[in-house]
Each structure stands twice: as C-alpha cells, then as structure tokens.
Amino acid sequence: MKMLINVPETVVADALRGLAAAHPELTVDVENRVIVRRDAPVAGQVGLVSGGGSGHEPLHGGFVGPGMLSAACPGEVFTSPVPDQMLRAAAAVDSGAGVLFIVKNYTGDVLNFDMAAELAEDEGIQVAKVLVNDDVAVTDSLYTAGRRGTGATLFVEKIAGAAAAEGMPLERVQAIARQVNESSRSFGIALSACSTPAKGSPTFDLPPGELELGIGIHGEPGRERRSMMTSGEIAEAAVEAVVEDLQPRNPVLVLVNGMGATPLLELYGFNAEVHRVLAQRGVPVARVLVGNYVTSLDMAGASLTLCQVDEELLRLYDAPVSTPGLRWGM
C-alpha cells in the first residue's frame, strides 16, 4: 500500500504541522496535540472541546473556529487522545463560562474524556459532557459498548457551537447538543477497507464484488456483507435503516458523507438517490451537506446522517461558521 507519508510514527505530527501552515487562524500545538481557535478563550462563551482518533479528517481539528469547536484533541490514528490533551484544551478555552466535552461513544474516548473531566474539575473548570451515539447499525446495543458516534458529531459540533457563540450558558448548550444527538441517526456503507499507516495494508478483507453494510469509522467491518449493489439500492438500505429508527416528523438535515476515497461524483449521485428515497417516504429535507467530513482514512464508501430539526436547531445550523472544514455566512 503506497501512502503519502514519511514514517507511520510521525503521521499525526506531520499533519498537524501542515494544518498549522494552512490555517494561521488556529493555534496548533504539535507537541501536545491540541488545536485551539486563536482568539480563545472568548469572554462569556462556553468552550467546546472535542477530539478522538486521527484519520477522520476534517473531524475534529478541521472544525475548530468561530461558530463551531473552540479546541480539538487529535489522538493517534483511530486511537482516543489522552486526558492530558483534553485538560490542556479545556484550560485554553475556558473563559469562566465552562466547557462542553463532545464525546463520540467509543470505550476509549469515553474513558479518557471522563478522566479529563475529573482532572479539569479539580482545577476549577466547570465541565459538562455530551455523548454522540447515532449509529443505527449497532442493533443489539445492550450487548455491545452501545451505539457508535459517527456523522451526527458534525451536527452536534455545528449547532452547539452556534449556541455557544450566542452566549448561551453551559447547561443550555449541553441540552441543545443532547437534543441534536437524540434527533440524529446514521448508517455507513464500505466499498473497501481502509489501511492504517501503522499496519500499511487493509484492516479487513473485502473482495471486489462485495460491500459491507453498517460499518463504523475505524476500519471495523460492518454487520452484514452483500454482493455489490447500485447506488439506488444502497440509498434505499441506508434511508430505510435511518428512517425506521428516527421516525422523523419534522424536516431533516441531510449529511451524505464520504469515507475518504469515494469521489464527489459518486457522492452527489448517491445524494440524488437519497433524495429520491426520502421523497418517496415523505421526509422533507431542510438542508444538505455532501462531502468528506467524517472520514475513515482511505476507505471507499459513504455514510448517511439525518438530523430532525425544529426552528431553533435550524436557525443555529444556519448561523455563521468559519473553520477549515466548514465555512458559511462569514
């Protein structure tokens, strides 16, 4: 497997140096692995801190900036960051209004953020948490570590970021973040496995004529393997899985997310099919985002996230945002 890297050990640090060179509006601490918006802490505003394994870019570092995250902590590839990083981030963004940790539901992320929250509170920083667990592919969550956090993370970070920018207090920002998570569901499809730099080869074996339904974002295989399907058939499977679980009554935000190696040509085509199926089911669409936002290294495939919105969530979603990965209205 050919990769545009130096050596596996420095992949994350090299990417952070590149992020810093491209975005002088961010403060990138390469050694301690913390990305902070340059004007932090912003007086009177709740700080938003997220993080997780690297390999999902632009999540999370690419979502740091006015209107979204205050700071992000990238871990090793697919490995949760450590509590020291989150503690540093929390200290850098806390203006006295408190800090919200946005945590994807994976055992490592949960444990490390929990430890960081304890340490931060010891230092007098008020911390609240929201757990993102939107993946409907995990059906028997009572017997697993629970539903995974995937595409909804973008909606949680965007909408909670807007709430924080408006100066809402910590409890309110947390409540809105929870509402976004509870209103969101996702489903992922892999056409190929991804290759981690450390391993250098695909993390699981997916033959040319087959696809995986219900995959996660860490190269873990899905729950079901099928013969290759058309974009329309995949859209039907994904929309059905999400809509059955979400039962939306309001308009939805749609995220058609590329896993890293699927061209926009295919993603837009898939988006057309998703819209066809949503229209058939009578689900109104409020806003649409198509692109690579929550990726899984070089995995081919896509995920679909729907988020049911009321007037307030939609207003916050539309609010201005300026980050490397998401930018509108300013």
């Binding site: 090793e76 490995t79 450590v82 994976y106 490592g108 490390n112 995974r148 450390a198 391993k199």
Partner: protein, 199 residues
C-alpha cells in the same frame, strides 16, 4: 519480600515482551479491532521505562502508580485508562511500604483488577483483558508461574467467545474465533512477574 527493584524489573520485563510481541498484538487486533493494540502499548511501556529510569521511586507502590500515570498519559484508546488504572490502583493498594509480600501483591492486584472492571464495565466472559487477569489473580496465591499459566490459558480461552465490550463488540458473532488482543497483552503483563522473580 518484594522491593521496589523487583517492581522495576517487572515493568521492564513487560516493556521488553510488549516490544517483542507488538506485531503479534496488532495482528490479533486487526480482524476484530482497529489494528493498533501493539503499537499503542509499545508507546506506553516505552514511556514507563523512561520515567522509571529518570526518577526511580523507592517503593513498590510508587513504581506502579508512576507506571500507571505514564500509561494514562501516553497510550490513549481504551487500553490507556484501563492498564493505567490497573497499575495505579494496584500501586495505591500497596501503600508506602518499602517491601511487600507476594500475598500483599496478590491482594493489591485484585483491587486493581476490580477497579478495571468498574471502569470498563466488563465481567469475565466478555472477551477482554479481564479474562486473563481474573484467573491470574486467583492463581497468584500459589505462585507467579501458576498466575502466568492461568493468564495465558485465560487469553487462549477468549477465542470462542463473542465480544461484549470494546470495539470488537460491534462485530457481534463475527468476533468469535479470534483471540482477544487485550487478554493477550494482559498475559504478557502477568508473565513479567515470573521474569522479574527469575522463575
């Protein structure tokens, strides 16, 4: 009696075996996890050895709490907090004593394993590090070698199990037939005791 030097040898021996077995741990983590268990633990135990060399603690408890703190600060993922908590809580249970008996170590390690079960929410049979650690602690009263054998058997016995915790749990039945990488690394940690004791 076991002194701080014994505990330093334990950590150094574990670091050496993690170094030796890193590729195997990562290979075990590949079909049911995300193929980084070996490299993550290697990073952690390298930091543990460096920290112990830099400021060697004078007590068994001090060695283990320092090692645990290093793992929490460097490993990440689930193994960082879980292994870090195991060593930290074992170290805390040993207190300030300059030397401890094998029985005291067994008792303290049981407290450490209990803390890991509370933190991770895993029980025996969930296909995790617990499946190696619980039988090892039970056998520790007998001898280090008995504990090592029990841990290794416990790790092998995870193969037919279906994972209920951690990332492998998302595979459901497809996790069956693979030995758990966490139980395998836990067996390396316990094996380190026999090496430290020269058994």
């Amino acid at each position: 009696m076991l002194d701080a030097e014994f505990f330093r040898r334990w950590m150094t021996a574990t670091a050496a075996s993690v170094d030796r077995e890193a590729e195997r741990l990562t290979a075990l983590d590949s079909p049911i996890g995300d193929a980084d268990h070996g490299s993550n633990l290697h990073r952690g135990f390298t930091a543990v050895v460096a920290a112990l060399e830099k400021e060697p603690p004078g007590t068994p408890g001090g060695v283990l709490t320092l090692a645990g703190r290093q793992l929490i600060s460097t490993v990440g993922g689930a193994s960082g907090p879980l292994y870090g908590t195991l060593l930290r809580r074992t170290g805390k249970a040993l207190g300030d004593a300059g030397e401890v008996s094998a029985e005291q170590l067994a008792e303290a390690l049981r407290a450490g394993v209990d803390a890991v079960m509370t933190l991770g929410g895993a029980a025996p049979g969930d296909k995790t590090m617990i499946d190696a650690l619980v039988p090892a602690v039970d056998a520790l009263g007998e001898s280090f070698t008995a504990a090592r054998t029990a841990a290794e058997e416990g790790a092998v016995a995870t193969t037919p199990l279906q994972a209920r915790k951690g990332r492998a749990s998302y595979l459901g039945e497809r996790s069956i037939g693979h030995q758990d990488p966490g139980a395998t690394s836990a067996a390396l940690l316990i094996a380190g005791l026999t090496e430290a004791a020269g058994e």
